[in-house]
Structures are given as structure tokens and as C-alpha cells.
Symmetry: C2
Subunit: 967 residues, 2 copies
Amino acid sequence: MLNRREMLAAMAASGLYAGPVFAATRFTPGADGFVLASRGQAPAAILVDPQDLPGVARAARDLAQDIGRVCGKDAVVLHQGDRLPARIVLIGTLGHSPLIDKLAAGGRLDVSGLAGQWESWITQTVAHPFPGVDEALVIVGSDRRGAIYGAYDLSRSIGISPWYWWADVPVSRRDHIAIARGRHVQGPPAVRYRGIFLNDEAPCLSSWTAEKFGGMNAQFYGRLFELMSRLRINYLWPAMWNNAFAVDDPANAALADECGIVMGTSHHEPMMRAHKEWTDNHQLYGNGAWNYATNREGVRRFFREGIERNGNKEAIITIGMRGDGDTALESTGSLASDVRLLETIITDQRRIIAECLGRPAETVPQVWVLFTEVYKYYNAGLKLPDDVTLMFADDNVGNLRRLPLSSERDRKGGFGIYFHMDMHGGPFSYQWINSNPLPKIWEQMNLAHEYGANRIWIANVGDLKPLELPIEFFTAMAWDPKAVDKDRIAKWTRDWAATQFGQTHAQEIAILLSRYAKYNAWRKPEQLSPDTYSLENYGEAERVCAAWDELVVRAQAVDAQLVPDQRDAFYQLVLYPVLACANLNHLYAAAARNRRFAQQARASTMAEAAEVRRLFRRDRELRDHYNLQMAGGKWNHMMDQSHIGYFDWYPPETDIMPAVSEIELGPDESFGMAVDGSSHSWPGYYLPPSLPTLDSLSRRKTYIEVFPRGATMAPVTVRADQPWVIIREDQAFGVSPHDRRYWIDVDWQSVAPGMSEATITVKGSATVKARLTAIRATAQQEREAKGAWGGLAGAFCVPATGFARSVEARGVRWEPIPDYGQGPAAMSVFPVTAEPFPDPATAPRLEYEIFLAEAGSYHVDLVTSPTLEVYPGRHLAVAIGLDDSAPVTQAVFTPEAGAAQDFLGSRHAANTAANARRMPFTIKPDRPGRHVLKLFMHDPTIVVQNIIIYRSDLPQSYFGPPPMERG
Amino acid sequence: MLNRREMLAAMAASGLYAGPVFAATRFTPGADGFVLASRGQAPAAILVDPQDLPGVARAARDLAQDIGRVCGKDAVVLHQGDRLPARIVLIGTLGHSPLIDKLAAGGRLDVSGLAGQWESWITQTVAHPFPGVDEALVIVGSDRRGAIYGAYDLSRSIGISPWYWWADVPVSRRDHIAIARGRHVQGPPAVRYRGIFLNDEAPCLSSWTAEKFGGMNAQFYGRLFELMSRLRINYLWPAMWNNAFAVDDPANAALADECGIVMGTSHHEPMMRAHKEWTDNHQLYGNGAWNYATNREGVRRFFREGIERNGNKEAIITIGMRGDGDTALESTGSLASDVRLLETIITDQRRIIAECLGRPAETVPQVWVLFTEVYKYYNAGLKLPDDVTLMFADDNVGNLRRLPLSSERDRKGGFGIYFHMDMHGGPFSYQWINSNPLPKIWEQMNLAHEYGANRIWIANVGDLKPLELPIEFFTAMAWDPKAVDKDRIAKWTRDWAATQFGQTHAQEIAILLSRYAKYNAWRKPEQLSPDTYSLENYGEAERVCAAWDELVVRAQAVDAQLVPDQRDAFYQLVLYPVLACANLNHLYAAAARNRRFAQQARASTMAEAAEVRRLFRRDRELRDHYNLQMAGGKWNHMMDQSHIGYFDWYPPETDIMPAVSEIELGPDESFGMAVDGSSHSWPGYYLPPSLPTLDSLSRRKTYIEVFPRGATMAPVTVRADQPWVIIREDQAFGVSPHDRRYWIDVDWQSVAPGMSEATITVKGSATVKARLTAIRATAQQEREAKGAWGGLAGAFCVPATGFARSVEARGVRWEPIPDYGQGPAAMSVFPVTAEPFPDPATAPRLEYEIFLAEAGSYHVDLVTSPTLEVYPGRHLAVAIGLDDSAPVTQAVFTPEAGAAQDFLGSRHAANTAANARRMPFTIKPDRPGRHVLKLFMHDPTIVVQNIIIYRSDLPQSYFGPPPMERG
């Protein structure tokens, strides 16, 4: 099924999947090299020195089975005393595998540079390594995870997706597997600890584990640890709401240690103890209060037990203290006294660590997480021991809040990032589906990397599924950020798609994967409402629905071409998100129409109500297919998360259908009409209808909609009194075939330059006249507007990428981040660590050619990403200037008044919900015609998506006017 | 049917209906006096001198028929040359009726004091007035309306309701009518011109007149003028949207003049011309623009034609100019230039008046109306000729904006008031039903009277029906304000009810009439939404529904006892408004439950959706009965006005059912619970449920609701862990019998003084524990709280009338206005013309005994009426003080920022929608226990309804906590 040659060609440039072993793997029958497996022969046997560290043998066993998955017969894992066959795969840890060490000492294995490295390995073919062995493929790790990752790297290279079990990705069968001879070095990773946090695991993960494993026990965690190791994720915050990792199954912690998983606990669970352990037993500790000021001894004993229990199992110990259950610390009265209390807590915690483990605290990895309100203690000057990793949490919506200052970077413990791909909490929850476009993850995590927050990266991944794609991307970036630059995200996605589904559809699937996440990030599904996209202006709601419809058609076309055993993987990774999110957007559009149509007294109001009910049922059918049909019900409950009808920050108890209305039908034969750009209807509204002005530069069309108000409608005619008006009948946006749309366009050749007026008469049971104004550019206007953005009437949008010139300064320049934000790309400043340019005159800039029909004053709304001022002392400013006028510099207003608030205030919440922030500027052209709009860098890390330019009021819409075709 | 004796007893004290003739009327068979009619005899004949003024003979003919309605045989109206019978009723105008003048000259008729009076008359029996005539009942008017009103006064006295035709009020048949001999003087009225404005007449009045009369022609206006004269309404602004009084039927204007109706045109239609005349023909006038700056000659000609056409028919000519069709004047660039333009317009208009009528303009009644934006021109110093009446418009919602300063009051033209009982426009429309409680009309119009705005009162009455009651009240006040003081409004209403329905049910009907209007004024039906009344807090929504339910029961009980021919009148005047408004309040409550229950995942969500649909249908059934069944369809279309689903200031094109939602049912057997004071539900919400604290002083109860979330519910038990908790099962607020409420009360005898805690455990398919805190007062607290307002926990409300002491100063004091506002009465300052008291120390005050459980800081929200600062230079201030602490004076903030705005800004709009304004104060008791809260007058005309006192957050509700039972 996989066309190997195509895949290789596609993957050659990727540092992620086309690792050197991957590149050295040959499937062509008879291909030369170390023959791992070949039809008719036993696969090479796998050997691990029995003295090697735990976990290596486990990875070796997985590799043996993986070989079987590919070639039909598992490899033999050799045991002590077994006779060595002619071909073996030897896996081991340098300094812990006598077999390996012997080969190295004998000069047969080149381990130069490996010793002391973190999670690095060498894969090398060795001829005649041992007596009776013709050839060995040796995988030697600098440490045990190096060896483990080396084994799984071979698995991946021969075609085992890390998601083979977790996303039912089928394996391509091969008759022959050979590894070209040579020595391949991999590692170390850029980020030492790469983690995930299983969080807010009810109702999905907890119900699924209960049904499939009987709880979050070692059977479940074994599956998870295997996935993590295949993805080279080495750090875990385990599920903790109503779960206690170390207590629920005593085998859990031992298994983690065996598998080489570094355990931790979440930001609000210090000292290796789950919150649930406290809630279940708090009355046994002092006065039972989670309060260090009033129950110090009780809490200390609780802490001590955690460290003692964990012993020397590899861990990063979360220190500090928050409130009881992911809430803010109970204040002791003042910020200063709270800071002192926290310092006392941390001092005590480190004393406990040192006492229990019998070694200095600074030798034990620890992390203190600045989550939400915790920032204020740090900002107030809390002193943190230098060896503790200082972890900056994002804003819960994937926008980093803080990065290390250059003056801070040399702290011994380094810095970490706690990132969210899933959230249960403020400013709003999103737990259902993937709404994390990779370019956005890249843009923010690239800052983390470049600014040196590289010790730990951990992502809150909710129930794990359905975040397969962003989890792997996040981890891949952490492993090797340089391998995933902004211009190769699409390529990376394509390679990922090829890994799961083969080359044939990889490009198309990559588009589907990136688009559905991108559309979901316009506004997260949980934040959608009937109000989100405008029904009236810019055909916005229907454009969004059309974009989703296109994805549905393309996804269904791919689905129809896949072979049956790919279908389950495709449904969970691609088809379900596309269908369910498209359905959801249609649901809210139908609810919006129901409400608006009721206000317009359309008879189709009731048809739209029925459509809402149908789409609500459809959402459940899609979910039920995921839970109950897909993979034979293997993932039952994984899609239980409610996601429709949010009314607060937390998810609704059950999905709530958008409310729908009914009206009394009007008289038989009666009709109504509505026009583009207005919510009103006629006959009825007291002012006459007026259509948006059309102009020959913008080349937009407009429309009238005519609809029955009663059970029947008398014939209606739509006529213009001017020959240059072109009218074309169409179906209205909605489900009723009786609601008609009449597109109104202008035959620009037939109308004189300048302004012309026409009247469109709609005649049925009554007569309504709508006014249309058309402006044709004069010859001079046409000359001046050529190649420029802008028209003769109305607001217009210039995509940030639509510049005519980019002027760099001191090696700093604006560059596009492809596929980021609302349009095809967004512009940001690179390198991201550039110093600010306080003077626009010398700053990198973009120049946009624009055409303004009149002199006067214009609003310029800069649509930026809602990212935050990560670098204390900088204000994320940018400047706008027109022609040679003095540029005006403005600072992004976030976090503004909200800066002192735990969740950064309601304005930032609104910005994150909209995933955009508007910065208002003004320009004042002194003459009509062509101008140059200039965008000057001030601070790095700002991201500009669109520029909206308008004279007075901007019609209400979510995005503003759509970017025009270039004139 | 009418028990005459009871009626007389009831009406004796009323100056409105128990006029002297009414008091002199006897129905007892054989009663002495002038016998108007008696079984077996011809009624007294009616005589009008043929030379008398027009209109008098018309009233005489109506009287003749009215006598027939009462006694079964019309009186004969004598014509010139008829032989005079033994008993005659002679009606005439002093100085215009030779017959009358001869009697007066002969000393047979005492007309002393009558000549020169405005609309006055004498009703006197004269023995042997003419040869062959034994006795005459002479009705002599000081002017023709005096004579006309005299005739209708006799009609009313013998039992003809002014509404006999307009509200189908049946007439009681009598065998004998005698008028006790004597001389009865009536008039003149306090307000010279008492008017109504038929406005926004589509869809009701216009459709009704089209169907019943073929348009707004003289047949229709004849009916209207008769009603007006019976009600002594002498001034009319005719219907003008798509209607033109003088053009639609050329007989209209002549008929008005004949009937003694003073015609005018609305505030935005100057010079006796309808707006429609301009829109239909504007192209014939100059450049066709309604713009005095650019089309002066065209507009002048339009004006001139209006004055010429009206000639010497009695009128008050509206002068000035607004924009094209009840919009603001198009500005000429600055306020100063606009003022100059308006002065030019008025000068030109007066020149036209003088030229066309051939007499000085100052001899012709004129009015200039300060409507909405027009105030700004006056405030900017526009000079108005002294003889023009300056009419102050209210805020469109019945709150006066301006009253004459004492320094202004001697202007020759005097002042008028334009008042709204119906509105199509900003801040919101209310056109459906009567939402004008009489005490509010009294309170505001009493100010107009006392401050000398007495020349003209005109009310916008929409379609006229169903505003029968407030129209008559407004007019009655205008006739004789002293006869309707605030303490006699209930009495007046009872008398009005007795006039329409007889004495038996008058008291009950008066209560129904006043209550439904009062409840509608809490929030006008058009402004209701599912959000209006709180579902969670204070049982508010259910209290409102219960209040309506009580009216429904009482109204239906009356209806069942009425005789059949009273039913139509009762339906239109009482039953329909009660049923329809109760239904509407239930509709929104059901919609609110649907939404909240969906959020709580109640299985009953769908039952509430069905209830919304049922109540929406019921609204239409009630309307259809009014239109199609009642009085045989006589009033078809009068109830066509849409009133459900407002989404803007204008009414929806058709009624829009509140949107309803659906949810997916939860698992079988599952349940949820909710608690008083919270919108959350459990299992689900992350914080545990907590009930409002109960205390032994407030004696409130609280509740838990338990409901199925699936198709079935396992048995649920609700148990407390403390013996002092009393639990009583009940039906929850909603339609599903499966949703249960458990009332939680405390057996205060069984609980110790101080704070006690209990846990209520709800156990079914899951277990939920709710915490209850109860505070029992100590013996000292009980002593201190005795007779004081306040409790030990939570916010409390002190009704404004709940004072312990009222301290007057210089004859000024706080007094209750009964039945005003949210509670049984509101407090205002009398006399209303009192000067301000800037120093609280010497000001009239109210003292409230309150009990505060703790020392510290409390919010005090003074709930006042949203009336405006009618007296320039005063700020409607009031002061609050606690015990002997220094009082804090605050000015009502309206119109605040909105003062400069045409509609007084969004805050005033919100206040008028809520029909209340909250003024925030703070008190800081330095010890717990009993205190005296003092309310000091600063300015007159403020009205205080309630005082809400709370420590920190006030639970969201519409009214705040309900007034408690006095402790």
C-alpha cells in the first residue's frame, strides 16, 4: 500500500522521520545491507545484554514484534545462553551492556562522542561481532533512553507508526528489510525533558480506561509509555482528577521507572503526590487543611511520604504550592507575606528531598511552575534556588506569557514551558477536538527555543486523543527545533500523513489536517455560537460553511479511495474531525438563520429549526460512530466530551442544541425580502432597503433575497431600472428552496465612469424598491489603482503578506509564517530574538501599495495574533505610517489592565477566543489615489495577519472584509 | 344589573363620575324631580335652538338615543315648529341660543358666572319655561363645548358609559329616570386643551378602520369625536402614518369642527398638514426636499396651503419643524445656525398664519413641541413668541423631561405636556397593551399641574384601544386634578369599574385593572425576555408568575359571575389583558426554564420547550378571541400588534416564539440536583452545592430541586444529618411532575443560638451533599431586631413605606403614593413644589429601624422611580445617613452623560425598561445590632420605592430581595 519510493522522495528532506536509519532502510527484494528480515528466512534475532538497564529489553521485545508486524514473523529475542544466530540486532546502553562495551573496547564499535550524551544513540552495522555471528546491527545508547529510542527508531524506520496501536494505523507488509551498512548517530535532543500531561480526563479518558483496562492501571500506562517512547516523550504528568498514579495501581510507578519515563506531578501537585491523595485522606494530616500557614506539619508529612515513596525512581519533583485543587493559594493577607510563605515552603520541600533521598537537593531535578496566579509571586521577587527549573506556563490557550530575559538565562535549572493543547478552565475550556494548528505551535515554541526555555517542555494534552498530530509535532520540535522550521511545517505534516496513510494521499490528507485545525482555530468549536460569523455582512457565515464543505468533500473523496484497514485510522485522525467540525459550523449557521429568519418573518424559519435539530442529531451520529463502530468500539467513550452549547468556562453537562424559534406564518402569497449587508426585511422596516455600493475596482457582487412569509408566495419579479445591472437568480443561503437569492452585479462596460444609481424593484404581493449605487473608476483611478489594494467604496482588507516591498535592517526582516492565522500566512519578525527598533526610520518595514478613493481620515485595524508580551520590559509595539508622514507607534494593549489578573483579563480572553487582536491606527491621506502604507517593526514576536482599512463604520463581522483579489 | 344604591354610595366621593347631575339622578320608580323618562310615558323631548352653534344639536340627538338605551324609547328631538310637550330638555349655548338667552333674560334661568367661562355649563330645572311646557331641564353651556359636555354629562348620569360603543359596555335598563330639581354648575376644566394622539396606527387601528369603515373617514372619526366629547377630550392629533386627516376624507375636518373638536397635527407636522401630504406630493414643492435651508419657498407654500385649507376651523396650529417624518431636523452645520433657522421658520409660519387668517398671529392658538432632540434648540436659547404654547414632551416612556421654571410661568401661551401611553420609537416600542399604571400617570401629571404646565395635555394613545382606562384617567385629571388625589386613585378606578360593570364586582375589577397594569409596568411586556426575572434567586420568576396566576383566577371568577352581555366588555377591558399578559410572563419563564434546564441537563428540558410552544399558541388563541369572537368580530385587527420577540426598538414583523433548546437525555436512572440561589447542577459542577444561609430573623426557606436526567430516575432520597432541618417535598417550578422540589426549613426551637451547620444528602444513582448553614439569633439579637428590618444573613429589602418615623419640616414631608411601583406604595415629597432642602439636618426625613448582624460596611441601593430632573438647576438629590453619622447626599445620575442625547442615553433607557433606578449608597455601622437608617429629602419630585441593604455581592435578580416580613 505504501509506495516506498515516493515516500522516500517525500521524506528525504525531513529531519524528523527521515532519520539516517530511515534513510538507510531498503525494502527492495534482495537489497543489500544488513538484512533484518527476508521472506523465507528467520528475521535477525535481537540481543540485549541481561545486565543492561531496565527498559532496554522491553524496547527490544517491542522491536521484535514490530518486525513481525512488517514481515509476518516476529524476531526472536535471545536469552542468556541462547546460541547466537548469524544475524543479530544488538541493543544496549553504553557502560551498562558488557556486550556493547566489549565491542567498543575491541574497536569494533565506534562510540566516540557518545559517552555522557543525553538520550543519544548510534546505529551501526558490525561484521562478525561475535563468534558465529556474521553481522550485527548494533544500537548503542548513551543512556538507557538513548538505547530505547534507538530501538524504536528502527521500528519507525521499517514502517511502524508510533500510532500503530493508538490510532489503528495499519502496517505495510514487507518481504525484505535491509539496513544499508554504516554508522548513524542520533541525539541529543534540544529539550532535555519532553512531556505530556494527561489532564481533565473525564469523561473520555477515564471512561475509556475504565471500560478497556479497568482503570488507569499499569495495563493502561504500559500502552501509554510505549507510545511515549516511540515518540521520544520522556516526561509525564499523569492523569490526576480522581486519579492517583502511585496509588491506583502500585505497579504504575515501577513500570514508569522500568520504561525510562521520568515521572512528575502537575503544577499544583507538589512532591510526587496526587491531589486526590490529599482529598481522600487530608483529615489524617494535622488539621486537614491544605494550608501551609495553618497546617505546616500535616502538609510536610504529606510531602515527605511522597518523596519517600518515589525513592530513587527518575522524576522531576514539582515544588511550590498552590491552592486546594488547581486553585490559587489561599492568601495569608498580603502578597509579600504570601511570597515569604512560598519561600518557606520551597525551603522545607528541598530539605525533605535532601533528607529522604540522602543527597543534596540541588542534585535532584525539580520544577516550579508559574501557572496563572503564580506569576505574581515570582514577579514580586520570590527567590528560587538556582537549580530548580523555572517553568513558564502559557495563558492556557497556547500563548506564552513569559520567556527568560537574557540576564536570567544562565540559571542552572534552566527554564521550561507548560503549554496547552487542551484546557479545562479559564478563560474557556476546549477539550473536544484538535484546534491547535501547527504553525501556531511552531511560532510560540520557536520563541521558547530561541529565548532559551529549553530544559522542559510539557503539553497539556487532555485525553491524549484526538491530539495525535499536535502532540507529535510538539515533541518533534522539542527533539530538534531546527528540523522543523516555519517553511517546512506543511512538509512535516505531509510526511506525518504519509507515515500514517502512505504516500498516495499524503498531500491531500496533510491539507485536510492543517485546514481543519486552522479553521477550528479561527474560533474554537466550544466558543462558536450563532453570533460568531456574520450572516449579513461579507457573506461571512456562508464563506465559512463553504470552506468546511470543501474539506468534507475532499475528506470523503480520500476516504473512498483508502483501503478498508486504513479507514479506522482515517476516521479518527481526519474524517471525524472534518465531518464533526463542519457539521458544528453548519449547526450554528442554521441556528443563526433560524433567529434571523424569524426576525425577517421568513416562512423558512421552521425549516431552519428542523435543520438545527437534524445537525444536532448528526453530531451524535458522528460521535457514536467514533465511539462504537470505529475499530470495533476500541475507543468507546473517547469522544464523550460535550462540546455544544457552552454557557460558562466549563463544558456543559450534556450537549445543548442551539435554541430555535418559531413564528406564525404570514398571509398566504405574502413575501419578504432582505438585502446583503442588512439584518432588516421588507415590507416592514421603516427605512427603505439600500444595497452595499459596488465599485469597479473591488469587483464585489451583492444580492437581494426574496422569500415567502406565508404558506405560499405569489410570483415575485426582481427587475432593475438600469440596463447595466445584471441579476442572476440562485438559491439563498439556507435550507429552504423557496428562499431565493438574486445576485446583483454590474456590467462595468455599460456604465459610465463615476457614480450611477439604479433601483431594483421586487414585485410580488407588494412592491419593494432597493437602491443600488455603482461607482466605476475613471481612467485615472484605474491607472493609479493598478496593482494596489483598495477600491472606490467600503472597507477593504490587505493581507499581511500582500506587501510590495520588504525592507530589512541590520539583518532583521519581516517574514511570512505560512498557513498561520486567518489567511494564507502571517508576517512576523526574524530572527525572533532581534532587539527592538525604537526608531521607525531605521526599522525593518513592509510597504503596501494601497488605493484610497478619497482624501481624509481612515481607520487602519491591524489584525495581529493575540500573543503576549513574553519579554518583560518590551511592549510588543509596531508602527504604521502613510507615505512619508511620521509613523505612529502603538503598543499592543494586552495584557493591559488584565496584566495583574490571573487570567489576563476579559479583553485578552476575548482576543484569545477570537484568536486575533485588533490594533487601531489612523491614516490621513491628503489626496485621493495611490499611497504606500508602511508597517514598521518595533518589537520582535509580534505577528500580523491582516490590515483592515475603512472610513467610518465597519460593518459587523468576525473577520472584517475578506481580502480582496488584487486589483 | 346595576345596583344603583351601591353605586351611589361608592361614587359619592368622586368628583369625576359623581358630578352634581349624577348625584341628582334618581331611578327609583316614582322618584320625584324632573322626570326624564318613566315607563308608559314618552321621554322628555329634547330641544335645541336651531340658531345654536353646530355640535349642540348633535349632542342632543345622542342624548335622545342614550335615553332610549336606558328606558327603551328614544327621546324625541324637537324641530322648529314642533309643538312643545310638557317636559323638555333644553340644551344650548349662552349667547347663541335665543331660547336660552330669553329664559336667562327673563330671570327664569340663573346663568350668573357662566358667561366667558371655558367649557362650563349649568344644569337647572325650570318650571313652566315656555307656554305649554310644565318643566324643562335646561343645560346651558358657557360655550358650545360647555353645552355639548352638559348633554353628555346627563347621558353619563343616567348610566351611559362613554365607552358604551367603544368597549361594548352594556347599558342598564331603567323604568324611571328623574333629576332632582335644582341648579348644578360644572366647569371650567383645569387644563384648557385635553387631547389624544392616534399614533402608530398600523397594524391595528388602520386595519380595523379599513375593515369596518373603509378607512379613516368621517364615519370613523364621527365615532371617535362622540367618544372624545363624552370623555370631554377636546383636542386631537389625528392618525398620520399613511393617513392624512384633511385629505383622506374631506368631510373629516368639517365634522371635527361641527363636533367642537379642536384639531391639531402632531409635533413633527407643522401648519395643519399631514406628513403623508408631503411624502405623497413633495416633488411638487420646490426641489422636493423637506429642508427649510434649501427649499424655503417650496416648504412655505406647503405650509400656506395647510393654513388656508383649515381656515377658521378651531385648531391649535403646530409650528416649528423637525426632520422628514418624525426624525431630527437635518442640521445646517451647528446648533447655533439650526436655532437661527428654526427662529426663521417660526417667524415665517406666523406671518403665513396672520396673512391667511387675516388676524394677528398671537390671536391664533399655536403650539411648539419640545420632542426628543428639539429640547436642544430651546436649551440653546431659541426665542419663542410669548403667545405660543410651549409643550414639553416626556421621554416617550411617561417620564416628564421638563417643567416650567417659576420664572417662566407667566408666558401668555402657557405650557403643555405631550405624554406617552404607547410608543413606536426609542428607547423601545410598546404598542400592544396597557402598561400604564394610574399612580404613575398621576404622579407625573400632578407635577405638570402643580408646576403650571396646564394649557394643553395630550397623550399618545396609539390605536386608542386597549388604553381605555388610562385615557379616561388622564383626561379626568386634566379636567379636575384636585378631584383625583393620590389617595383616591383606587377609589377612582373602582368607580370606573362600577360604571362599566356595576357595583357588585367593581372592587374586584378595579384590583384586576390596577394590578395588571402595575405588573406590566414592572417591565413592559415588549421588554420581557427569558432573562428578565431570576430563576435562581429569591424565587423571583415564580413569584411573578404566581402574582399573575392570582389575577387570572380572580379575573376568571369575575367573568364567570357576569351576565352574558357584560362578557365582551370584560374581555377587552380586563380578561384579555390579564390572561394574555399572564400567559406572556409564563411564556418567558418557561423559555428561561428551558434554557436553564438544558444547562442543568434536566430531562424536563423538552417538556419546557413544549410548554413554550403551547403558551405561544395560547397567545394567538387569546388574540384571535379578541379579534374574531369578541363582540362578533367588531374589533377585528385591534389586537394585531406583534409583541413577542422584540430584538430592536421596533416591534418584530411577526411574533417570534422565544427560542427553545433540546438536549440529549442522560443515562437511564440518572438524576441531577440544583439548589436555590445557584444556576449550577450536580453531579457536574466542580464546586460542591451550598444553600443560602437561613436565619431565624429573616425566616426564609430555601430549597433543593431533584430531577431526572435520563428517561427514568432511580429513587432519590433527600436527608439531613441534623434533626433541626425540616424537609418537605413539593413540585418544582416547571411543568414536569418528575422534577421535585424539597423545601428546606429550620425548626428554630431545636437549634442552638449562633451558627449551625448541616449536610443535606441527596442519594440516588449518585450521592450529592449540599451544605446548609443556619443562624439562630441570640436572645440579645432577638431583642434588638424586634420590629426592625434586617436579618442575620444575606441581603434584605426595606420597603420605602416601612419607616418608623416621618419627620416633616416647614410643612414638607415624605408621603406615600399608594400602589406605585414595585411594592404597595412609594414615598415622595409633598407638596411637590417644595423648595429643595440642601441641608439634611433641617430636611424632611424618614427613619427606618434596621438590624445589622455585623459591624462594617454595607451597600444601600435606593430603588427610585426613573423619573427625570424636570426642574432645570435641580439634581433630584437625596441623602442617606445612619444613626447620627453625617448623611451623604447623592444626585440621581440620570440623565448624566445621556442628557445631551436625544433619547437621554442608554442608561436612562435601561432605567425606563426596568422602570426603576438604583442609587448606590454606603453605610458603615461601627457595631452590630439595631440602627436607624435615615432618608433625607434634598429635592422634590423624587420617588423612592425600596431600599436594598447588603454586605458584598447582591445575587442577580430583577427586583433584589423581596421585602421581608417585618421581624
